[in-house]
Symmetry: D2
Subunit: 342 residues, 4 copies
């Protein structure tokens, strides 16, 4: 059995980690810690986690987190490097925060500010080369939710040279992506019945991470125009991704063949049958990425749509998948491939 | 392994049955059948059931459903008696429809019309005496979604003589309870942003079923005033249940003690800590019933609030729980006690 | 022209007041003030109020609010008495808060705590005797949102002696009723996809106000069991109200006749045609109360369902209606009777 | 007074037309007609239209629609040309359907099929030259909902030569845009909690209409990549629109100046203050278009976000605005510039 701890257990990422880990056959749940909610029962914050409802949250200190095989960090950025150092090199540290995602210190400084904590193996096994780096590792940088669904939507076409390296992405998200922050625009009365754009013009912090994923896969720079939209649902990201065809004569069948091949062996990526488009409901609570591809003939662009659950494959499910890889368990252990719908 | 079939696999109850049965360690999924959707892929109707997406639906005939250890019927009422007869007495038949819930032929005729198909063991193991009747049975009448949460909310107080047998229930439901019926008032644009009452004045068909459960438990007639309300969410029933205290001096602690005792050993009923009230989100996708009790001192009434997922504990989860009992498996096998939130 | 000021203009009640007052043909909008948001543009908080978007909010001081014909107070309770005293007896003060609703100082102390500020004419003109008290007044206590829809649902039956004075109410509300408070359970991700009860057991502060309205109308005490439920929509209250029939033989026609007569001349109360049940969407943004009545024959209870928009008829619309009465304008001036749907 | 008729009064466009026309000071409401709902009360379908609830719907025949100053057609496409011919050249016919929007018969045949009915003045007065063509006309082709918000978002930049004529649009919509069609994917339980793309790859019928608007304004062809996304809300379209900068050094201020000038005198277009992004809630029920512009410096693209209510400015409000122009009334008469929020 793998004994795990979760720091940040009262938040949305922490809650989803625990939901999945409770169902994981090789996991035993150890310390649960929090920041401001330390000292309270988990059931006050996560009443859906019935088996853990009476657990009392500890402080997110290295002392409380020590002595586990794997420690999941669901903390504000800037906290994980120090904690990881204190936990030692033999403990698997899975960081759901941003600290170790970007490889370029200058990019870190531009987008987050301050000194770069260094980068860790990037937790998106479906990217070229990523699975090998994650196997047996003791440090994982879990991707952001937007980079997960959008990178997997675009990498195969870029790598195959089907499109020019100038992608345009509009991704629509549920509100849990913003966490439990108490901000007026996240109140239910504001969110329900409304759509809003935010972080427009390439200023959202996931932009450099998407660009890094695409550029690394391609081996040369990819320009990314990224617009996030907030929609009235708790979970889910639907990404509309497009890029100019390298050859305007490329047809949808050729595209489809490339994606089929790219994801043929991926247990958590499903290219839907022709004519069926992804919905976030089909991925809800599951670790799946649902994809569909087509060609806009008039505009001579590839269009790919992907759907994920931002909390599952986009955060906690991806994190558990990486834990499995890191610890030598079958990659799919404990991870749902069925969604919860309707 | 238990080999199962599901009739009505393209509907909401059928989809939830398959979601749970896919995760059940002792189950092998056999025939999937449908009415008008026979001949189509399951993935067109239930894209969230990834592992079964390419299955083609058969017709809901006895021939297609034969040869399984257990057959789940998620069909319009009036169909199950004949199918069950054709499947033979050794096949476990779990009927999610209404046909065999009511014990009184006159009540059947009044509320549904026509000849009574007879009654089967009632699939709510938490009711007094029900578990014994379900153990080893080959026929199960799965309760309606409203009767599940409301009966469990009221039976302990009635049986303990704490309240007069005159209960008032208003239960608010998500729209999946109405199934995939194509009716204008169930369109998204109508449902979102609106609340509506329906079946008001004691005319909803679940009223006699609730009355039967309460009266059977008490051993004498219970009057039930039941008002259902439709709210903008896919899943969940929150029931507000009250009854006059038999002794106006009864305090909340006395009530609480009765409920604690009644459900102490029930794996799927959780009386929440004092001061915490149920939410349907905490039960979403799980087989749990969340309860809280209090006394309205001024009005001298007991008030109980229960929350369930109408598709899980309210239909498909309850059905799988009964299958476990009927086939001698541990009652909790394969059934989630954690919800999916937020 | 009536020159008005709104204190609390950045909140939900303040925003709805301004939406209605902008469309009111006899009104000129003067000072807009706020608490913590003083000094900011109204458009940051209420972007839907396009014509006022560039107005800068002042402090909610008597000095800023002086010099208007009517001042609307949408403030936390405890603030209005002092402000009203400073504004002088000739200024119409319409208090959307709770301070002057309850007539009994002991009730105020029990439910809100502290010294009673006294009571003002109660702003629900459709209650017996209320319209006369509001005509020409310079002080108005606008009712709470729950008391509005529930009192109008029950008063005619009580006054006509059709039911026993023991009412049971479950009212389902959208989340704007809680205002813009930054509380975790009001976050969009928590609210959407969930139903929850709160203030259960007769402890919600609107309970004594409902009891006061019903008891005053009847002339003797009425027992009120009130349970509020929070549902995933921004606006709307659907109330399910019932009471035992005084004579179990009373039929729905007799009830209907009483309600038809009671509201025949009320411009903002609509008893729906038989068989049609209220939805909150039909009242959204309008000043209407939609009602339907029936008899639950088996339970021998009257059941009345009412739907309102908690921000319009339930707060700001009611307030404007009272302003019209107070200032001698036609009561319906500027108030929408059509809702915004779907 | 202008006497109007509405054909298709039981649908969403028809309902919104009547909501606005009821509040229009110069309008008297005449015949209300429908297809399958002829013979029923309007209140069954549009309970929010209280003042018209008891009106009985007639058949949508020329006979019933004759004798009015203006006839609004909210009908399936293919019906309006014949009806308009029967109503005569002096009656104002405002067609909310698609029949007369496209100017190119080949485009009509490709996208809708069959013979082109000809084109009428296009009902988006804010487009260059459009207002003049609408003034005094007796035929109006009301734009589609997507073309309204997206064309206004992009025309100023194209006309000013700021961007290359290759635009990429992802527009997220509420479900009322699909009308009251009884399709499974529009059921509340399917829509709530889910996002889905449809008509992807340039196949949505509004694509050629957007291209026509942009190309006409620019005077040369504009390539349009358009992806619509369905989100869980009843009303609203948020459009994320982008295009490569003609000169990568163009800054946001230059863009802003162009948009400020373009819409300085437009009563229904609001360029938000810098840093504030549009929400659909702010436009709900109003005739406003809310816009914000920026430059994505890294991607060298203009990004414009627009928000409208698809039923108001996107359909019925635009239609009434055109009626005002056609009949010589002030263009803004009867049209709300305040939205309904939260």
């Amino acid at each position: 059995m793998v004994r795990i701890a979760v720091a940040g257990a009262s938040g949305y990422a922490g809650g989803e980690l625990l939901r999945l880990l409770l169902a994981h056959p090789e996991v035993e749940i150890g310390a649960l810690t929090a920041g401001g909610n330390a000292g309270t029962r988990l059931g006050e914050h996560q009443p859906h986690l019935t088996p853990l409802a009476d657990r009392v949250l500890g402080e997110s200190t290295a002392e409380n987190l020590a002595g586990h095989d794997a420690v999941f960090l669901a903390l504000p950025h800037g906290r994980s490097a120090e904690l990881a150092a204190q936990l030692g090199p033999d403990t698997l540290v899975v960081d759901c925060g941003a600290d170790h995602r970007l490889t370029d210190p200058a990019a870190w400084d531009r987008w987050y500010g301050g000194e770069h904590a260094g980068h860790w193996p990037y937790g998106l096994p479906e990217l070229p080369g990523a699975r090998a780096a994650l196997t047996g590792t003791r440090r994982v940088a879990v991707p952001g939710c937007y980079p997960t669904g959008t990178s997997l939507a675009l990498v195969p076409a870029l790598v195959a040279g089907l499109v020019a390296p100038e992608v345009v992405i509009t991704a629509v998200t549920g509100t849990s992506g913003a966490g439990k922050s108490l901000k007026p625009h996240l109140l239910g009365a504001e969110v329900m019945g409304s759509l809003s754009a935010y972080g427009v013009g390439g200023v959202h912090r996931h932009t450099p991470e998407i660009a890094q994923n695409l550029s690394t896969a391609l081996g040369s720079p990819v320009s990314v125009s990224f617009t996030p939209v907030l929609a009235p649902l708790p979970r889910g990201i639907l990404a509309s991704c497009s890029a100019p065809l390298a050859d305007p004569a490329t047809d949808a069948e050729a595209i489809r063949a490339v994606y089929e091949k790219a994801y043929a062996d991926e247990p958590f990526v499903r290219l839907l049958p022709e004519g069926q488009w992804p919905t976030t409901a089909q991925a809800l609570g599951s670790n799946m990425v649902a994809l569909q591809v087509t060609v806009d003939v008039d505009a001579a662009r590839l269009v790919v749509v992907s759907a994920i659950d931002n909390l599952t494959k986009g955060t906690a499910g991806g994190a558990v998948q990486c834990m499995n890889l890191a610890l030598g368990l079958p990659e799919t252990t404990g991870l749902p491939t069925t969604g919860v719908a309707p």
